[in-house]
C-alpha cells in the first residue's frame, strides 16, 4: 500500500515540472541542448560535469586500463612470478632493440647475456652478447597459468623456447636476487595491490554508510554511541594499530585467508571516516521535506533510510569511497613492505619493495624500486579521479575553489 503511495508522490513531483520546463524552453528560445540539461536527472548532470574535468577522465581511463592489465596478468606476463632463472640474479632491465649492424628490424629483439663475476664487489655483472640475437615472438606458448579457472600456456610475448632449458629469458624490468622476472612479478603484484584497496573500501562502505546513516537519522543515544566508538578508534595512530593487528595474523594461515584478513584490518579504521562524513550529510537531509512526507505517509524507518536517504547520499558515498582507496593502497604497501602484510609466495608492490631495504640493493640494483613507480601512478590517478568526482557531485564545490 505504502509503496504505491510514495510512487505516486514521486510521479507528481516530477511530471508537472517537465512539461512546464519544455514549454518554457520553447518560449524563451532555449536551445535543444540546454533543454536537455534542464530536464536531466541527477546522475546525468554529475556525469556531464565530471566529463568536463579532463585530468579526472584521463585518470579514470588509466585506472581502467590498469585493472584490465592485472586481470590479464597471466597472459601479459611472460613468466610465472615464482619461476627462477638459474645464474640470472640481479639482471638489469633489458632494452628492446630495433636496430643492429644489419639495420632496422620491424620485430624487436634482445641480446643474449653473458655473466661475469666482478671480483672487486663480488657481484655478477652481465654484459650483452651481440652475437646472440633473440627476436621477441608474440602469442607464444610458455609456462602454464590459470585464467579464470582455465589452465593455459598462451602468453602475449616471449622468446622461443630452448629445449626446456630456461637459461634464456626476456627481462624488461630486470630480475631480483633469485633470478625471477620483475616484469611478471610487478604484473602479478598489481593484482593484490590494486584489489586490496577496492575490497577494503567496499567493506568500509558497507559498514560505514549503514552506521553513518543510522547515526544521522536516529540521533540521540544511538548517534552518541556510534560517535564514541568512532572517536575511540580514531584516537589510535593508524600505522601502529595496523601493525599490531597484522602481527596477530597466524603465520600458518593460507594465502587467500591472510589476504582477506588484511582487508578486514584496513577497514577496521576505514569505516570510521566514512561513517562520520556520511552522518554529516544525513543530518542535513534529515529535516528535508521529502523525508518528512515519507514519514507522514507511514513509511517505516528502514524504508526511509534505504529508499529515500541512501539514494540521496549515494553520490556522496561514491566520492568518499574513491578518495579512501589510495590511502588503503598506501597502507597495504607499507604493511607488506615491513613484512607484516602480504606474505610470500603471494606478491604485492609493497612486498616487492621489501628487497630494497638495504643500502647495497639501493646502490647496485635500483630497478628493484620500479614497483614504487606503479604505486605512485595508481595513487595519483585515484586522487585526481576522486577530486573530479567530488566536484561533479557537490554543486557548490566550483564556487568554493
Amino acid at each position: 500500500m505504502s509503496e504505491t503511495n510514495t510512487n505516486q508522490n514521486e510521479d507528481q513531483n516530477t511530471s508537472p515540472l517537465q512539461p512546464a520546463l519544455e514549454a518554457d524552453a520553447d518560449e524563451t528560445g532555449v536551445s535543444q541542448d540546454d533543454q536537455r540539461i534542464l530536464t536531466a536527472g541527477q546522475w546525468r548532470l554529475m556525469w556531464r560535469k565530471f566529463k568536463r574535468n579532463r585530468l579526472a577522465v584521463v585518470c579514470g581511463w588509466m585506472l581502467l586500463f590498469m585493472y584490465t592489465v592485472i586481470l590479464l596478468s597471466g597472459f601479459i606476463a611472460p613468466y610465472n612470478p615464482d619461476s627462477r632463472f638459474k645464474n640470472r640474479a640481479y639482471v638489469s632491465p633489458q632494452g628492446l632493440h630495433f636496430f643492429d649492424d644489419s639495420g632496422f628490424h620491424i620485430r624487436p629483439f634482445v641480446y643474449g647475456l653473458t655473466a661475469n663475476r666482478d671480483t672487486a664487489s663480488q657481484r655478477w655483472v652481465y654484459s650483452q652478447d651481440k652475437t646472440r640475437r633473440y627476436p621477441v615472438k608474440f602469442f607464444v606458448y610458455g609456462q602454464e597459468y590459470s585464467f579464470l579457472g582455465i589452465k593455459t600456456n598462451w602468453h602475449l610475448f616471449g622468446l622461443d623456447q630452448d629445449g626446456g632449458k630456461q637459461q634464456r629469458g626476456i627481462f624488461l624490468f630486470g630480475t631480483d636476487i633469485q633470478g625471477r622476472d620483475m616484469f611478471s612479478r610487478v604484473l602479478y603484484g598489481g593484482r593484490v595491490s590494486l584489489t586490496i584497496g577496492l575490497f577494503g573500501v567496499l567493506l568500509s562502505v558497507c559498514f560505514g554508510s549503514v552506521l553513518g546513516v543510522v547515526a544521522g537519522y536516529f540521533g540521540g543515544i544511538i548517534d552518541n554511541l556510534i560517535q564514541r566508538v568512532i572517536e575511540i578508534l580514531r584516537s589510535f595512530p593508524r600505522i601502529p594499530l595496523w601493525l599490531a593487528l597484522s602481527a596477530a595474523i597466524p603465520p600458518n594461515m593460507g594465502q587467500l585467508q591472510s589476504y582477506f584478513m588484511i582487508t578486514i584490518i584496513l577497514s577496521i579504521l576505514g569505516w570510521t571516516g566514512m561513517a562520520r562524513s556520511i552522518r554529516g550529510q544525513v543530518l542535513s537531509l534529515r529535516n528535508e521535506e521529502f523525508v518528512m512526507s515519507a514519514k507522514l505517509m507511514g513509511a517505516s524507518h528502514s524504508r526511509v533510510i534505504f529508499r529515500h536517504l541512501m539514494p540521496a547520499v549515494s553520490g556522496y558515498i561514491i566520492v568518499v569511497a574513491t578518495i579512501a582507496v589510495p590511502g588503503m593502497i598506501l597502507a597495504e604497501s607499507s604493511l607488506s613492505f615491513l613484512g607484516l602484510g602480504i606474505r610470500p609466495p603471494m606478491v604485492s608492490w609493497g612486498a616487492l619493495l621489501t628487497d630494497c631495504q638495504s643500502l647495497t640493493t639501493l646502490f647496485y640494483y635500483q630497478w628493484l624500486l620500479l614497483p614504487a613507480l606503479f604505486i605512485i601512478i595508481v595513487v595519483f590517478c585515484y586522487n585526481f579521479l576522486g577530486d573530479g568526482l567530488r566536484d561533479a557531485v557537490d554543486p557548490y564545490s566550483a564556487a568554493k575553489r
Binding site: I232, S235, P237, I239, S334, V379, F380, R401
Partner: protein, 327 residues
C-alpha cells in the same frame, strides 16, 4: 579556560580506559605468548628448552594467569608509572621507552614545524598569485608528496644522503655520541641528523596543508573587510599579514588534530626504514616477538600523544580566534 581544560582532561579518562582494554586485547591477539615464540627461537638455534623451564618462565612473567588478571596487573601499574617488564630486553618497559618516545615526539613536532614553515608562506603565495606558474608548480609538487609512500621517500632520502652527499645513514647520532649521556654536543649532533627524517615525514602532510592554506586565504581575501582595508590605502603587506592571515590560519589550526595521527604514523614507518632510535623499530620488534607489555605501552602512549594533540589544537584555536567560546 582552565575549567575547560580540566573538563576535557576528565573526559579523556573513560576514553583512555576503553583504549587500554582494546590495546590489551590487541596485543594478546597473536596465537601463543612470548614463551612460545622464545621456544620457537631456541629450537631454531638447535638448543633444547625443558618444559619445566618454560613453565617456570611463564609463571614468573604471570602469563599463566587469566587474561583479566593480567590486564588489571598491567593497568594498575600503568597509573603509577610502572608499565610492566619487557621479556625480550629483560628490563622494565619504562627504562626502554622514555627516550624513544621523546625522540618520536621531537620528530613529529619537528615535522609539524617544518610543514608550517613551508606550507604557510607557499599557501599565501599561491593564493595571492592564483593560477600563476608558481601556483601550478607548487601544487604539482604537493601532489607528488601526497602520492609517494612515506617509506619510498625514506629509501630515496637514504640513497641521496649516503651516495650523493656522502653522509651516514641510519640512526640519529654519530657513532661517537651514540652511547653517550645527553649533552649539548649530543643535542647538536642529533639536530644535524634529524633533518632528513623531518623532511621525509613532513612531505606527506605538506600537500594537504598547502591546499588548506591556499583555499582559506583565497576565501578571506574576497571578504569585504579586506576590500575596505585596501580602499583605505592600507599597505598590501599589512592587509595580507596583519588582517587576512589571522583569520585564514584558523582552519590550519583545526587541521592540527588531523595532521598529528598522520605524523605519528609516518614517523613510525620512516624510523623503521632509516633505523632511527625512536618508537618505530622497537615497536615492530616487540610486536613480532610478542613482547606484549612493551608493545602495549608503545601503542598506549602513542594514543595518549594523539589525544593530547587534539586537546592542544582546540586550545590553540581558542587562543587565536576570540570568536570561539570554549563552553
Amino acid at each position: 579556560m582552565l575549567n575547560y581544560i580540566l573538563r576535557r582532561l576528565l573526559h579523556m579518562i573513560p576514553t583512555l580506559i576503553v583504549i587500554s582494554v582494546l590495546v590489551f586485547v590487541i596485543i594478546q591477539l597473536p596465537p601463543g605468548d612470548f614463551v612460545d615464540s622464545l621456544e620457537a627461537e631456541l629450537q631454531e638455534s638447535d638448543s633444547v628448552a625443558s618444559k619445566e623451564a618454560m613453565e617456570q618462565l611463564r609463571e614468573q612473567y604471570g602469563l599463566d594467569k587469566p587474561m583479566w588478571e593480567q590486564y588489571f596487573k598491567w593497568i594498575s601499574g600503568f597509573v603509577v608509572g610502572d608499565f610492566g617488564y619487557s621479556f625480550e630486553w629483560r628490563r622494565p618497559v619504562v627504562e626502554l621507552i622514555g627516550e624513544r618516545l621523546a625522540l618520536t615526539f621531537a620528530l613529529s613536532f619537528g615535522s609539524l614545524v617544518f610543514i608550517y614553515l613551508i606550507a604557510i608562506p607557499i599557501g599565501i603565495y599561491s593564493a595571492r598569485h592564483q593560477n600563476s606558474m608558481g601556483d601550478y608548480a607548487f601544487s604539482s609538487f604537493a601532489v607528488l608528496g601526497l602520492c609517494i609512500p612515506n617509506f619510498v621517500l625514506a629509501l630515496v632520502a637514504m640513497f641521496v644522503v649516503v651516495f650523493l652527499l656522502g653522509g651516514s645513514a641510519g640512526g640519529l647520532f654519530s657513532p661517537e655520541y651514540r652511547f653517550e649521556p645527553w649533552s649539548f654536543g649530543k643535542f647538536l649532533n642529533m639536530l644535524s641528523h634529524l633533518w632528513v627524517p623531518i623532511i621525509v615525514v613532513g612531505a606527506a602532510g605538506m600537500a594537504g596543508s598547502m591546499r588548506v592554506m591556499r583555499n582559506s586565504m583565497l576565501n578571506v581575501l574576497r571578504e569585504q573587510y579586506i576590500t575596505t582595508a585596501r580602499a583605505k590605502g592600507v599597505s598590501e603587506f599589512k592587509v595580507v599579514y596583519k588582517y587576512a592571515l589571522r583569520v585564514a590560519a584558523n582552519p590550519f589550526i583545526t587541521g592540527l588534530g588531523m595532521q598529528l595521527p598522520r605524523l605519528i604514523s609516518g614517523s613510525v614507518i620512516v624510523a623503521i626504514v632509516l633505523g632511527l632510535p625512536t618508537t618505530g623499530p622497537m615497536f615492530l620488534k616487540s610486536l613480532q616477538g610478542q613482547d606484549m607489555y612493551l608493545a602495549g605501552s608503545f601503542l598506549m602512549f602513542l594514543a595518549i600523544l594523539l589525544l593530547l594533540g587534539n586537546l592542544l589544537s582546540d586550545i590553540l584555536l581558542a587562543i587565536s580566534d576570540p570568536r570561539i567560546r570554549l563552553e
